[in-house]
């Protein structure tokens, strides 16, 4: 799978690759801000196209990386193929009654699950790297990072109890 990227004057950037089975996928980031994806089946001469907004394209990207997407909670999995296929998942959780009023220290999040809270979104403001003394409030959304087992453990042990 050789990926080619090309700058097209006045249009935008093109990324194209051919799959092992001979199908071709091309992505264009146009200057108008939209993203177009073309797929061309082997031995066929008319490609089919889909146009996406940046948000839609990111969602598609998340689906393709194998992350689970739910209606209101979202997760992104990043795979580093060069580092022994290291996979890191970042997941958003809306805090449950079980954690409201408690600090990160009280909950012993890292010791119990291995996952780390790296940001909390509160009233449309983001708090990056909350300190151990950080107290969760109702309505917070927490961004948790870890391997997918850590994330599952976090969901089971911290959010439910």
């Amino acid at each position: 799978m050789a990926l080619r990227s090309l700058n097209l004057p006045g249009v935008g950037t093109k990324y194209e690759f051919e799959t092992d089975k001979g199908d071709t996928v091309a992505i264009f980031f146009t200057k108008t801000g939209s993203i177009q994806m073309y797929t061309l089946q082997k031995n066929c001469n008319t490609p089919s196209a889909a146009e996406m907004s940046p948000v839609e394209a990111r969602r598609l990207g998340n689906i393709l990386t194998g992350a689970i997407i739910e209606a209101d909670q979202e997760s992104v999995e990043i795979a580093f193929s060069a580092l022994a296929d290291l996979r890191i998942t970042i997941h958003t959780f809306f805090v449950t009654a079980a954690v409201v009023g408690k600090t990160i220290e009280d909950l012993q999040i890292r010791a119990r699950t291995g996952a780390t809270v790296i940001a909390v979104c509160r009233h449309d403001r983001n708090i990056i790297n909350p300190p151990p003394t950080f107290v969760f409030e109702k309505g917070d959304a927490a961004l948790v990072i870890g391997e997918s087992d850590h994330i599952k453990k976090f969901e089971r042990e911290i959010m439910v109890n």
Binding site: G10, K14, L40, P47
Partner: protein, 377 residues
């Protein structure tokens, strides 16, 4: 002032309608100018304000074109750009010039008409490739590079036209000197320029607007026309952060250019002795000659006449640059002819660009040509 407000209002309505129907807006802006201007009872008249807006439109159009020209990109794609570019240039220039001259235009007028006849609309071609989702076709790359080549030729044509009575060699040296100075400024002031463009207050937009206008105003002292000055500025700025400059100059270009099209329409006078035979002949030839150059390009580059048909379908529309040439030259008869050609070709072009797939399929199913089994890329 009322003229301008009326023009802006009409354009707003036209823009809404054309975007909704996804057809090109340029021919309708010009038609609106024609209908509301001389031909249609003089509701719109040109005055100092509209003149200033139109001039800004032209200046920003050319500044934008300069920003998009990145010499190193063209150098890296030389072979493909040159073959298609030279076919397109020769076929259309020769047909355009011969037609205009035989239809009774003077030598200089024929040259202007031939140039306007040759230059396809970059804006319409690129928009149609994106909107009709043709970017993956191999012919699209050819069309995109063809537009870059045409822009380069346009600069040379503009230089020749605007040299006027000056010694051409001396004139070219002056232009190169201006370009050199601007290049040096952009090169040594690169960090300063980028630090300005990175700010999120009024400074980036103010700077872009002022830089373009100040550069244009220097033309008075240097004897180099505004058009050349702003293209050179665009080319020089393209070495810093062209995307940021495009973003900051776009609002000016979008508004002023629309006004430019409308008031160009106002100066067009179809009622005052326009020769309909000449106008019709030029317009039809404009569609036909791109067919010839398109087919030749398709055969030479992609080895398929059908590819040529696709190239043709996307390059029929003449637009902004043809009108710019008409305005810079400024003869009413030439302007009227070019206006009619732009309106005709851009309307025909929008249909061919949209339905070229059907056209190709129609031909394929009838002749079952072997070349069609080959897939693009």
């Amino acid at each position: 002032m009322e003229s301008l407000v009326l023009a802006l209002f009409v354009c707003l309505v036209l823009a809404l309608i054309t975007k909704y129907l996804s057809i090109p807006a340029i021919p309708f802006y010009i038609l609106a100018g024609v209908l509301l201007g001389k031909a249609g009872g003089g509701m719109l008249t040109t005055n100092e304000i509209s003149h200033f807006f139109s001039e800004m439109g032209l200046i920003f159009l050319l500044f934008f074109m300069g920003l998009g020209l990145k010499p190193e990109r063209i150098a890296s794609n030389r072979a493909a750009v040159l073959t298609s570019g030279i076919i397109d240039l020769n076929v259309n220039m020769i047909i355009g010039f011969a037609a205009a001259y035989l239809l009774g235009f003077s030598l200089t007028e024929s040259l202007i008409i031939a140039s306007a006849f040759y230059i396809s609309s970059t804006a319409m071609a690129l928009t149609s490739l994106i909107e009709n989702r043709k970017l993956m076709l191999r012919e699209s790359d050819t069309v995109i590079w063809l537009m870059v080549f045409e822009d380069l030729v346009l600069i040379i044509i503009l230089a020749i036209i605007s040299a006027g009575n000056q010694n051409l060699v001396f004139f070219l040296i002056k232009i190169l000197a201006v370009l050199g100075v601007l290049y040096a400024l952009a090169h040594y002031g690169k960090e300063f320029l980028i630090s300005i463009l990175d700010r999120d207050d009024e400074l980036p937009i103010l700077f872009t607007f002022a830089a373009v206008l100040i550069t244009a105003s220097f033309s008075l002292y240097l004897g180099v026309p505004e058009t050349m000055m702003v293209i050179a500025l665009g080319v020089a700025f393209a070495t810093t952060d062209p995307d940021a400059f495009e973003q900051h100059a776009r609002p000016f270009k979008d508004v002023f250019l629309v006004v430019f099209f409308v008031f160009f329409g106002v100066t067009v006078d179809f009622s005052g002795g326009a020769n309909w035979f000449v106008i019709g002949a030029i317009s039809i030839l404009a569609v036909a000659s791109k067919l010839i150059s398109g087919l030749l390009t398709g055969i030479f580059i992609h080895g398929s006449a059908l590819s040529g048909l696709e190239i043709w379908a996307n390059t029929i529309a003449r637009g902004e640059f043809s009108i710019a040439l008409a305005v810079i030259y400024g003869s009413p008869v030439v302007g009227t002819t070019i206006a009619a050609m732009v309106i005709m070709t851009s309307i025909v072009g929008s249909f061919t660009a949209k339905y070229s797939g059907l056209l190709r399929r129609g031909i394929v199913s009838r002749s079952r040509h072997k070349a069609l089994m080959r897939r693009p890329h």
